[in-house]
């Protein structure tokens, strides 16, 4: 019961924030709404016992990426961008997406969790081996060691790339 209550609370935050993000004209308002939405997502992570992701979501997304966004918004002058027409492009893709989401929702509502009955593995993979963070570390460094290493190159490229793009003289 409590869980359902919290779900509704966070879901409202997520959707309300998202709707405001895509409809506000002022980019700063959009960014603030996005932060609200991201915090709502973090709450949902906590509700599903993903404590590690909850922390990462707050630290990385809200504390890192969104601050970067706000910096850039402050850095570049968005006055012209504020007064623009909207809602006039690519209706067909939007229509397609809405239909797809509608069908998906109808399907889930009708079939519920049983849609995924096939998905449950016979044995719970890493049950009760310490807390959530320990489990993630275990899986990350066993099964996903390779992507973890590639991510190091990816981040190096991100560093080099953003310096190349933004620095005056290189």
């Amino acid at each position: 019961m409590m869980d359902a209550l919290f779900f509704y609370l966070f879901a409202t935050l997520v959707l309300g924030g998202a709707i405001l993000t895509v409809t506000r004209r002022n980019a700063v308002h959009s960014a603030i709404s996005l932060i609200v939405s991201l915090i709502g997502v973090a709450g949902l992570y906590l509700l599903q016992q993903a404590e590690f992701l909850f922390a990462v979501q707050i630290v990385l997304y809200v504390g890192g990426i969104m601050v970067l966004f706000l910096f850039v918004i402050m850095l570049v002058n968005l006055d012209q961008a504020a007064k623009q027409r909207r809602f006039n492009r690519q209706w067909w893709i939007a229509l397609l997406c809405v239909t797809a989401v509608g069908v998906e929702i109808a399907y889930f509502v009708r079939k519920g969790a049983s849609a995924f009955s096939m998905a449950r593995p016979p044995v719970a993979a890493v049950a009760n081996a310490g807390g959530n963070t320990e489990q993630i570390a275990d899986v990350l460094f066993r099964q996903y060691l390779l992507p973890f290493e590639i991510a190091s190159v990816l981040l190096l490229v991100a560093v080099v790339g953003s310096v190349v793009m933004a620095k005056k003289r290189i």
């Binding site: 993903a50 990462v56 990426i65 002058n77 719970a124 993630i136």
Partner: protein, 102 residues
């Protein structure tokens, strides 16, 4: 298993994803378009975590973690490019960023 069923999370994820797509397609400001992409990625992460919870394993958490890493890297490079675009032409309206002919 207690708590709201998986389907609720998936519906929420799908709606959030659609909102991100709508924002991407209909907004004009490059920064807001970028924020819509972040919404889409969060929708994806939400469904990863929901599946993970249902399956009682943490592989989905790890995937969501990698998606976050990629989102951060993309945001860093993307915002650097946005700053360069702005330095060269002082507008961030996608309709004005079209010196190339169609």
């Amino acid at each position: 298993m207690s708590g709201p069923p998986l389907a609720w999370y998936l519906i929420l994820s799908a709606v959030l994803f659609a909102l991100g797509v709508a924002g991407f397609l209909f907004r004009k400001s490059i920064i807001t378009i970028f924020m819509s992409i972040e919404l889409m990625l969060n929708a994806v992460n939400l469904s990863f975590v929901a599946f993970s919870y249902q399956l009682k394993q943490v592989n989905g958490h790890v995937f969501a973690f990698f998606v976050m890493v990629v989102a951060a890297a993309e945001a860093a490079v993307g915002l650097a490019i946005i700053v360069t675009v702005f330095k060269n032409r002082e507008t961030l309206n996608v309709d004005e960023v079209d010196s190339m002919k169609y």
